[in-house]
Amino acid sequence: MSDSLINSLSAMLGNDNVSIESGCLVLGVSKPLVVVLPQNIEQVSEVMRFASRESLAVIPRGSGTKMGLGNNPDRADLILCTEKLDAVVEHAASDLTATAECGITLDKLQDVLKEQNQFLPIDPSHGYKTTLGGIIATNDSGSLRLRYGTARELLIGLRVVRADGSLFKGGSKVVKNVSGYDLPKLYVGSLGTLGIIVEATFRLYPIPEYSRTYLASFVSADKCQETVISIMNSNLVLASLDFFNSSVLKSIAKSTELDLNSNGYSLAVRVMSVERAVKDQISQVKEICSKNGGRGVLLGDKEEERFWLGLRKFEGGSDGSGRALCKAGVLIEDVAKVFNSVERLHEVKTYAGAKAGNGIVNILIEGEDETLLESVTHLRNFCDSVGGYLVVQRAPEEIKTKIDVWGNIGSGTALMKRLKSNLDPMNLLNPGRFI
């Protein structure tokens, strides 16, 4: 980018808020990029107006934990970093809602909400530093989604700066609202391609009084699956129902220094409620598990917290050569089939963990580039064959260029492309990365 453009940006935002980064490996961009740090929403608009005028491709970034998601962008000039937009605008505790700027980290927001014994029940990977905007843009979620849903269910209003710099809002600050199109839903998972999300309003929940996790191991994935189906078909109300292969559990055991039985396949069942109801339901869970030969341990207060945090950190993973992180979506009944398919892969080390009640399976594969590609293709074919999908979330650049990371998006693709070109006619926002 020319010096005069950089000077214009510095004049707009101040010298301290414009810097040069020598490329971004995760994005597959080797040329230097200009990083801008708008201090407020108005400046985000100004930057986008400027980018539109100068035809600059803009890559939005929160804390940068998920920059590797999607295809490598076709073009990149500016990285628009939202980290300075970190104010809590309003915590309306008696309405169980909160509004915050999107550069705030989830942890910082949770600290504020905790003062009123409330929380935003989203527990994505990279817990401590992921931003609200990043969570929305990637629809990142964690184990609590079984009970509370993802950002899709919890986001009720937002403000967005469009590619041309105009600022609009969608939704509202009340939990029930059907006026106008449901724009918050459109922006969940839109990967920064339809606008820069600058402010969001979420519905909140009271922090449950009591929580326990029962961790049981089984001899086979199929035994785990039978247990999942029994639990899902019971009256139990669970917070989480996670399904792991042994390497995931070993890895968590190691990082958390918890003494976990990591043989075979495991289920982690979490119940959050009043104490009596938790204890009552945990004993029912134990019973169902033991019917299928599951043997387990009850994780106490502190251990439980360490365990789930350990899982989130593990799921965040790390980039690097020789590893591909995939996310598969299948029917609840087919989760074990994905595990069995993972088990049959050759010459790779695999880690598989599922949100079993949601049919979401996260798979990390380690191996040589060529075997990685083969493994990913094999798994995708399997998922497609059972009516599911597989998205490659992170992978070495060589792999990304050889496989469509998103897979078959379906018959809505043309319409999605039209939508992208109507909202971002110059294709400035994350071009080529998603739709």
């Binding site: 009340v174 006026s179 449901d182 009256n235 009552d280 109507n422």
Partner: protein
């Protein structure tokens, strides 16, 4: 009449009918004046427009062919389910047709282990629950009209109900749709799996009030019945005490399945007609339903009781069995129709406020009622702040209808001023489009219009609804977006 039709030959209507009959067969096209009258409004009967034809397709393909024909000939069309909508969303368009989905009423698949049901849009809401209740499952969104209203209509309006505080509204239970786009293309969005890659167009379509296409197949999530249900009926001197109890209950960390308030006027009328066991001398009642694992319900009950006592509840009744519980709810669900017994006419308003503003808003509604000299009965989904003030009037008194509508409009302004919304579940439709700009500014509306144009650039799909002023779209491919000088200069946008 649109310009396209003005230039049509005098016989075009007959030719058009012939083409429709060719697609649907003679029994799939209604053209007799007497029969068309039945389709001239939905449940908001204040507005009436007679369609030129009503078509009754049986398959997605037929819907697609009808839409393709309309697309070629420039004929507007309005989708319609059971016609129970309260905002005029299914009001026909002048010189347009109505596409009624009531013949597409099959439950296509019940998949208990994966907790999914696939239905056609004309399936009635309660049929879904009936189809899965033997397995102890149900379909959670339960609008008061659930024994008549269709899933297609629920999807269009993003319908709520009395249990959405805990279980969410329609959009939280719709996982996939097949939709016929306004150019006739049939696409599928979402499905039985979650987090499908691509933009969440499904989320846009739910609640789009039939403006983005016609949904021809819907994949729903079903929910396991709770182990225990406990319904409490508390009475108060003042409605404010009931309101304070609602905030008090959530502040204690309890999220009931539903919380409903009725004011004195409303509950007296309901009790006279239904005999639900409501205390007629109370100023207000609050219904609280707790559900979930027995141990949880048992632990939460005393907490709720304590909050009710702290707010000076006069009496708290706990439904002793399913029969009494159903009676409590029957009273609530009859609130609208019962108004017909105490007033010649009534208008149902639908606004949302932050829960915490309840007392203030009720006071303001009282003031408006006095100002206009018309009674307002209040019934609402108190847990989520969704108010349904019922404005009572007599249309035979000259000018009273206008006064009632004005009062109802003023109530919406109060809702928006307190940080709320102009509609929680009934939709904007035809009735409230003039109020949409209370909530959204030009840029907000521009964005929504860009989305509408992406789907329906000819503006034929349920036109004249939701948006306050009609906007046109630029036909895709006719101009290069990048080179438009106004846009390049940052001075404006195209649609």
């Amino acid at each position: 009449m649109s310009s396209q039709q003005k230039t049509k030959s005098p016989t075009w209507k007959r030719e058009f009918e012939r083409k429709l009959v060719h697609i649907l067969g003679a029994d799939g096209v209604i053209s007799y004046e007497d029969e068309l009258i039945a389709y001239d409004s939905d449940a908001l009967t204040g507005y009436r427009v007679k369609p030129i034809f009503v078509v009754l397709p049986k398959t997605s393909k037929e819907v697609s062919n009808v839409i393709k024909l309309c697309y070629e000939e420039g004929i507007p069309y309005v989708p319609r389910g059971a016609g129970t909508g309260l905002s005029g969303g299914a009001l026909p368009t002048e010189e347009g047709i109505v596409i009624s989905l009531t013949r597409m009423n099959k439950i296509l698949e019940v998949d208990i282990p994966n907790q999914r049901v696939v239905v056609e849009p004309g399936v009635v809401n309660i049929w879904v629950t009936n189809a899965v209740s033997a397995n102890d499952y149900y379909y959670a969104p339960d609008p008061s009209s659930q024994i008549v209203c269709t899933i297609g209509g629920n999807v269009a309006e993003n319908s709520g109900g009395v249990h959405c505080l805990k279980y969410g509204v329609t959009t939280n239970h719709v996982l996939g749709v097949e939709i016929v786009l306004p150019d006739g293309e049939i696409i599928e969005l979402g499905g039985k799996t979650l987090d499908n890659p691509g933009y969440d167009l499904l989320g846009l379509i739910v609640g789009s009030e039939g403006l983005l296409g016609i949904v021809t197949k819907v994949t729903l999530r079903i929910v396991k019945r709770p182990e225990s249900i406990k319904t409490l009926l508390a009475s108060f001197d003042k409605i404010e005490q009931a309101g304070a109890s609602v905030s008090g209950i959530t502040a204690r960390g309890v999220i009931p399945a539903g919380m409903e308030i009725m004011d004195g006027l409303c509950l007296k009328s309901v009790e006279e007609v239904v005999g639900a066991g409501y205390p007629v001398n109370a100023g207000a009642i609050l219904l609280v339903e707790l559900d979930g694992p027995t141990a949880e319900v048992n632990a939460e009950t005393p907490i709720v009781m304590e909050v009710l006592r702290q707010n000076n509840a006069l009496e708290v009744k706990v439904a002793k069995d399913d029969k009494e519980r159903n009676l409590f709810w029957k009273g609530r669900k009859s609130a609208f129709p019962v108004m017909g017994r105490i007033s010649p006419d009534y208008y149902v308003q639908d606004g949302v406020i932050p829960r915490s503003k309840l007392a203030k808003v009720l006071e303001e509604i009282k003031g408006l009622s006095k100002k206009y000299g018309l009674k307002v009965a209040n019934v609402f989904h108190a847990g989520d702040g969704n108010l349904h003030p019922l404005v009572l009037y007599d249309a035979s008194n000259e000018g009273e209808t206008g006064k009632a509508l004005e009062l109802a409009g003023d109530i919406l302004k109060v809702c928006v001023d307190s940080g709320g919304s102009i509609t929680g579940e009934h939709g904007v439709g035809y009735d409230k489009k003039r109020f949409l700009s209370l909530m959204f500014n030009e840029e907000d509306l521009d964005t929504m219009n860009l989305i509408r144009c992406t789907f329906d650039y000819k503006g034929l799909c349920n036109p004249g609804k939701v948006f306050p002023t009609p906007r046109t779209c630029v036909e895709p491919g006719t101009k290069s977006y990048r080179e438009h000088p106004i846009q390049k200069a940052g001075l404006g946008d195209m649609y």
